[in-house]
Amino acid sequence: MLTIEEVKTRLKNKYQSAVKKFEQPYGTRLYADIDKSKVREISNEIIGMGGRYLVSVGYDNIARDKTLGLIHAFSLDRDDIFVCLRTAAPVDNPTFDSITPDIPNAGWSEREYMDLLGMKFSGHPKPKRLILADDWPEGVYPLRKEVPWNLMPPPAENVAYQLDEAPEGCTTIPVGPFHPTLHEPAHFAVYVDGETIKGCDYRGFMVHRGLEKLCQTQLTYNEIPFVAERICGICGSVHATSYSQAVEMAAGFRISRRAEFIRTIMLEIERVHSHLLWLGVAGHLIGFDTIFMQAWRVREAIMWFGEKLTGNRKTYGMIVVGGVRRDISPELKDELLGILKTIEKELVTIHKAIVGDSSIHRRTKGVGRITTDETRLWSLVGPVARARGVDIDTRRDHPYAAYDEMRFDVPVVDSCDVWGTVVVRILETFEAIKIIRQALDTMPAGPTMTEFAEDIKPYQHAITAVEAPRGEVVHYLISGEENRPERWRVRAPTYPNLQGVPAMLLGDQFADLPIIIGSIDPCFSCTDRVVKVDIRSGRISNLTGGELETISRAKKLAGR
């Protein structure tokens, strides 16, 4: 076990003047201002201490000291510490050392800031466009403060993303941007040799909605939870909770204990329904629609309860900064307990019916295999990691809301394949039911909303992580003036997990592609949340090039 003081002394002793300042506004968060030239070394040092890379946050600090700021956030899971390495580079030469060669998961974050803030990363192995549309003009960096939030540059002709070279002797099969196996737009170019997958390139971010920019410029603190909730249709409360906690942390403010308990219950309700949903979808993807129908039938009860409790079937709108909007009455509590009992019983039946089914085993065992070490290297999260022997769970490692009082197990299997994910998710559903029962039993009385007596001080940093059904959600917030955040960075669980998909696909059969991609429960809209809106979808240029574009554009115009 490391304490925060030990981390500080270790960094201080080894890097001395390269570590300029420590800030520790909250017990378990350490912010270290470090020298730009030592970013890579210190990052590796943190990884060496048992750290896990979470996310990088880039922000525009031009107005104050003419720099672009960059933060690498890490989690020391065993020690309940978040370490954020803050550094900055002058805006006329914003070059940083890339940490991607050592921490492959940072690849996307860094590419994101190449696109959005115009940073440069020396030594990045794949400095391609990630987020912006292919026809977005060069030199316009939408996350910089000078770019207006509603800027719409004109579309350009004949620009397309250059896919990676296919390995020799391989054929490229395009999957997407619209494809029956993908429920949202994303483009996988899969390189196959016969039926075996030899590689994969991903071009996503087609449903980029510019939420972060929108919220940083247009909305106020307490409007953002509703937008945050709409980042994801399945795990909305997760984002709202994570955002709200970040604001509360930046303000140095505690909400009432009852509100924390209700948040916990909402999160677990969401987990129950999400796991059942995923189980159904996974069944559907391997052509086993019995599970699909039955899992969704069982799930329906909790959806209706959600509607009763919150007023809506999904996008509950329960969680705002300062607490929750509705209380759980004793009648609702009894009803919830009843529903949980039925769900538990039914889920046991489903579990028994599929656990020994050899046809499911054949489709999922040994599929999407990566080793535990690779999983760690790629910093995968959630059930995907837990199915591959990595014992992490934010609820236990960094307790938030009322999880510090809850007793639950974290199921971990080491089968390292899709079957493991199925098992983990089913077992987690039982754990979630256990947690809801405990929370309902021990919930203290009190108000549901706590009011802020003072304004939130600007430029306070806060990082929070919440365990979503699909993995871990990280929100980084820098508070700002005018009652709205200066910078708000969301990292959804699909963001790291999707980066691990090429590794999972390697050497598998092409027919297993849907279930492997499905096994991470991809949520492309979650992943694609940042900056500007305009990405037209007709451009599959490696199929029919300009022709298709002309056709789709003609159709689009004809439709007007």
Binding site: N150, L151, M152, P153, P154, P155, Q218, L219, T220, Y221, N222, E223, I224, F226, V227, R230, V247, T290, M293, Q294, R297, E300, W304, E307, K308, T310, G311, N312, T315, G317, V321, G322, R325, R326, T349, I350, K352, A353, I354, V355, G356, D357, S358, S359, E451, F452, A453, E454, D455, I456, N483, D534
Partner: protein, 178 residues
């Protein structure tokens, strides 16, 4: 193993039988407290604009056509039914109804417009000051508002005194073009 699993699966399917609802041929009532289409009670509304200031989707627009006449317009085509407007309304003039069958090909069907005769506070020029204790819920735009109702656009400026120039300017509002 395979056969026993299949038998269990058959039982799993047979036991609950058919659960399909006959909706829309049979009505499917929603839960109490459901957040459906919001409805405004023009008798209660004082035109404070709290709902407009707190609407995350910016579906509620306010246009002061003159010192005494305020037009409030709710455009349901963009509404996310979060119910925040009903929460913050100091007069309880907004209720979330149980209506959810709102599909339409004309957005005027789900648009509500109210014209309110206003008295102006001599001191501050506004009426809404409910949440002074909660600093995070400060009202964004105070005073006179000039949203463009035709373009359904929120103009993010407000003035303390009624300003005809602003009114004209907002008339010419154009959405950003490509």
């Amino acid at each position: 193993m395979w056969l026993t699993s299949k038998i269990k699966q058959v039982l799993l399917v047979l036991r609950p039988g058919v659960v399909t609802l006959k909706y829309p041929f049979e009505p499917h009532p929603v839960a109490k407290n459901f957040r459906g289409h919001p409805s405004w009670d023009h008798h209660k509304c004082v035109g404070c604009g709290g709902c407009a200031a707190h609407c995350p989707a910016r579906t509620i627009m306010i246009r002061d056509v003159c010192q005494d006449l305020r037009v409030m317009l709710y455009d349901g085509s963009r509404c996310t039914y979060c119910g925040r407007c009903a929460d913050v309304c100091p007069e309880d003039a907004i209720t979330m109804t149980e209506q959810f069958e709102l599909a339409t090909n004309d957005r005027n069907d789900i648009t509500v417009s109210m014209e309110l005769f206003m008295l102006t506070c001599q001191r501050c020029g506004r009426c809404y000051n409910m949440e002074t204790t909660n600093m995070i819920d400060k009202m964004g735009l105070r005073g006179f508002r000039y949203d463009n109702l035709e373009a359904r656009a929120v103009i993010p400026t407000a003035t303390e005194h009624f300003d005809e120039k602003m009114l004209e300017e907002s008339d010419r509002y154009q959405r950003p073009q490509k």
